[in-house]
């Protein structure tokens, strides 16, 4: 009888496919700091893993994932540096970043080397959750 259940489980998995991606643990690339700015072709993002451009935030994220040598994880990011506040709604509503990621404003994109340590030592009062809350409040008003 046990075999009937095992066969049924295998059958269901074959029919609907596993809902999870397979990851190679050697190729996991967790992002720690994301910088984003408007550029000529849309949005440019810079991380420790690399940089990418796209028509909007989602496209830039997708392009970075394509060009990276492994699997990029954005929900590990601890800081978001935005050059131009108009980008913020698009970024926070995408759900890519964790709610407690700190938000910083800057004039231009900088070298990501050592940026995470610097920003960690100079914490921000504003988080992704704060921005999302403020945006919802504005929408309701």
């Amino acid at each position: 009888m046990k075999w009937a259940y095992i066969l049924a489980a295998v059958g269901l998995t074959v029919a609907f496919g596993l809902p999870f991606r397979e990851y190679n643990t050697e190729k996991l690339l967790p992002v720690r700091t994301v910088q984003a700015a408007r550029s000529g072709s849309g949005v440019r993002i810079v991380t420790e893993i690399g940089a990418a451009e796209g028509a909007d935030w989602r496209a830039a994220v997708a392009n970075l994932r394509k060009s990276a040598s492994g699997d990029v994880f954005f929900d590990t990011a601890e800081q978001l540096v935005v050059c131009g506040p108009s980008l913020l709604p698009e970024i926070v509503q995408s759900g890519e970043l964790r709610p407690s990621a700190q938000v910083y404003y800057a004039d231009k994109l900088t070298d990501p080397e050592g940026l995470n340590e610097y920003l960690s030592a100079h914490g921000s009062d504003r988080t992704v959750a704060d921005v999302r809350y403020a945006l919802l409040g504005e929408e309701e008003r």
């Binding site: 009888m1 046990k2 259940y5 049924a8 489980a9 269901l12 998995t13 609907f16 496919g17 596993l18 809902p19 999870f20 991606r21 929900d75 590990t76 601890e78 759900g95 964790r98 709610p99 407690s100 959750a129 704060d130 999302r132 809350y133 919802l136 409040g137 309701e140």
Partner: protein
């Protein structure tokens, strides 16, 4: 096994099953409403446990004593089938980043059917083991979340989602499994624990992602878990939230499958194999069907089959039992004859006048 130990297993299974609405549904309504809903559910459950203690038979056997009760049991069986599909579909939300629908729900349903096929005892034992894992995990995750909450987001508020209210009655399904003498044990701490879990889950969610965002997210507690810091470092605990919800969901589905088996045993002499097949086929089919049924219909159905029907059955049975008990006491003490004589005497007097 002693009656106390069996009762503890039952409460542990009910608690594990309750984690599904407490973690998945209630945080969307705000902490005040979540706690109020959970307290209302606990009060209803406490009343049913009290009545169950005054009856000598289980809920299913009591209902099966009358034709109307049998009809209601058949309706409950069909309803539970639909709910199996609904819960299995809902549990796919436990993995928001993947396309978990419908495989996660169907595999959990299959596992629950297998456990229930082994008997209600197997489901009870699993529930007791799962409870230990769930309580340890939720205490850790909520404990580490509390220091980072935004206090300004914890003002009482939120909008009540009335359709989520009857979901707090989910642990009532455990009452369908009990047989023989009324439940022993001390349910007060278990019920209080359930209310505290719902309150803390909603508090942590509201304080981390803010109440309006929590109301919009399909699984806000998962989003809140992304921000948990342990010793100052952010940890990725959200996959464990998915695992905990899966374990709780298995307990809820297993309870429903076992309850359906108990109900079918009233109508069929050897219901085990048919119950397993029916649970999987009906529940599996309803994974898709439940998507077209409105939230309001589910709310009404849960209120009837997990609230009104068990409560009325136990209430009527306990009243009948009380009458029998009083009759026995009066007969044994000889008071019954005296009362009869007095009644006859008073009747004859009224005739003379």
């Amino acid at each position: 096994m002693t009656r106390d130990a069996e009762a503890r297993q039952r409460y542990a299974l009910g608690f594990s099953a309750f984690t599904v609405p407490a973690i998945l549904l209630l945080p969307r309504t705000g902490w005040l409403w979540a706690a109020s809903f959970a307290a209302a559910g606990a009060a209803a459950l406490a009343a049913m446990i009290y009545l169950r203690r005054r009856t000598a038979k289980g809920l299913v056997r009591l209902a099966a004593e009358t034709a109307a009760g049998k009809g209601a049991l058949l309706a409950a069986l069909l309803w539970n089938g639909l709910m199996l599909g609904r819960i299995a579909a809902y549990l796919c939300r436990a993995y928001p980043s993947g396309s978990a629908f419908p495989l996660t729900g169907l595999l959990l349903l299959l596992l629950a059917v297998y456990a229930a096929r082994k008997g209600a005892g197997a489901v009870l034992r699993t529930g007791a083991i799962v409870f230990l894992f769930l309580i340890a995990f939720y205490v850790i995750i909520m404990g580490f979340s509390l220091p980072d909450l935004h206090l300004s987001w914890l003002k009482p508020g939120g909008k009540p989602r009335w359709t989520a209210l009857p979901a707090v009655l989910a642990p009532v399904c455990v009452l369908y499994l009990s047989e023989g003498e009324g439940a022993a044990g001390k349910p007060a701490l278990w019920l209080l624990g359930g209310v505290m879990l719902a309150l803390l889950a909603a508090l942590v969610t509201a304080g981390t992602v803010s109440p309006p965002v929590a109301a919009l997210e399909p699984f806000p507690f998962y989003t809140a878990a992304k921000s948990v810091k342990i010793l100052g470092a952010m940890e990725r605990l959200e996959p464990l939230v998915s695992a905990a919800l899966t374990a709780g969901g298995f307990c809820l589905l297993g309870t429903l499958c076992a309850a359906n088996g108990k109900i079918l045993s009233i109508f069929l002499p050897q219901p085990d194999r048919i119950a397993a097949l029916a649970n999987f086929l009906v529940g599996g089919g309803c994974v898709w069907l439940s998507g077209v049924v409105s939230e309001g219909v589910f709310a009404i159905g849960m209120t009837i089959f997990w609230g009104v029907f068990p409560f009325l059955t136990l209430l009527l049975a306990s009243r009948k039992n009380t009458r029998k008990f009083l009759k026995n006491v009066l007969t044994k003490s000889g008071l019954s004859d005296k009362i009869t004589e007095r009644v006859r005497g008073s009747k004859s007097k009224t005739k003379k006048t």
